[in-house]
């Protein structure tokens, strides 16, 4: 069973993910406090991991998933570092 308009689906999914990314950019630009912007940056990193997954499917090149794993790792480290900074503590407690 093949869904109709089979080759259209990746473009539709990527357009929806780009719309989500622009919503995150709106929150980054407008967010009244610093943790709002940090949340939006974290969410946009997770969105881009899904985007790398869809790019793996479309192009057939599986190194995009390496980029996704690296992006998730760096986004997590950045979020933890910004949370520690906002909390006003050092990294060793």
């Amino acid at each position: 069973m093949i869904l109709p308009f089979d080759s259209v689906w990746p473009e539709v999914f990527m357009l929806f993910l780009l719309l989500s990314g622009f919503l995150c950019l709106y929150r980054i630009a407008k967010g009244p406090t610093a943790p709002d912007r940090t949340v939006a940056i974290d969410i946009m990193g997770t969105l881009m991991v899904g985007f790398c997954g869809i790019l793996t499917w479309v192009t057939g090149r599986d190194y995009y998933l390496n980029i996704g794993i690296t992006w998730a790792l760096l986004s997590f480290i950045g979020t933890i570092a910004l949370a520690k900074y906002l909390e006003g503590r050092n990294f060793d407690d």
Partner: protein, 114 residues
């Protein structure tokens, strides 16, 4: 057949991502935004990666998709909890419609300006 299952999983995941980001824009304060966006986007991205696993098969790329999904499932709640605790301790007020703040009752290291 597996490609159809994968496309359906990716469609559900993309819709979860979109609704999570709409919640990130629409909700009133940092804590509501954080719980809406983190839960929806974590589940949506894991569904996208499992859909990719169904499409490309369990080879080298599929194993990496599973690894990436497991990593996001582990790290995203940790980051969200650290951020919410940091926001609470740095003195950001709750929304006016919030009815209870359990963390302020047990947290003895609250900020000086809260």
């Amino acid at each position: 057949m597996t490609e159809t299952i994968g496309i359906i999983l990716i469609a559900i995941g993309v819709l979860f991502d979109l609704f999570g980001c709409v919640g990130l824009v629409r909700l009133p304060d940092i804590y509501n935004r954080l719980q809406a966006a983190t839960k929806c986007v974590t589940l949506g991205t894991c569904l996208i990666l499992f859909g990719v696993l169904f499409i490309v098969g369990f080879g080298a790329a599929g194993a990496r998709a599973v690894l990436c999904a497991a990593f996001i499932l582990l790290t995203s709640p940790v980051g969200a909890h650290a951020l919410s605790r940091a926001a609470h301790r740095s003195g950001i007020k709750l929304w006016d419609g919030s009815v209870v703040d359990k963390y302020a009752e047990i947290d003895d290291t609250s900020s000086v300006d809260a």
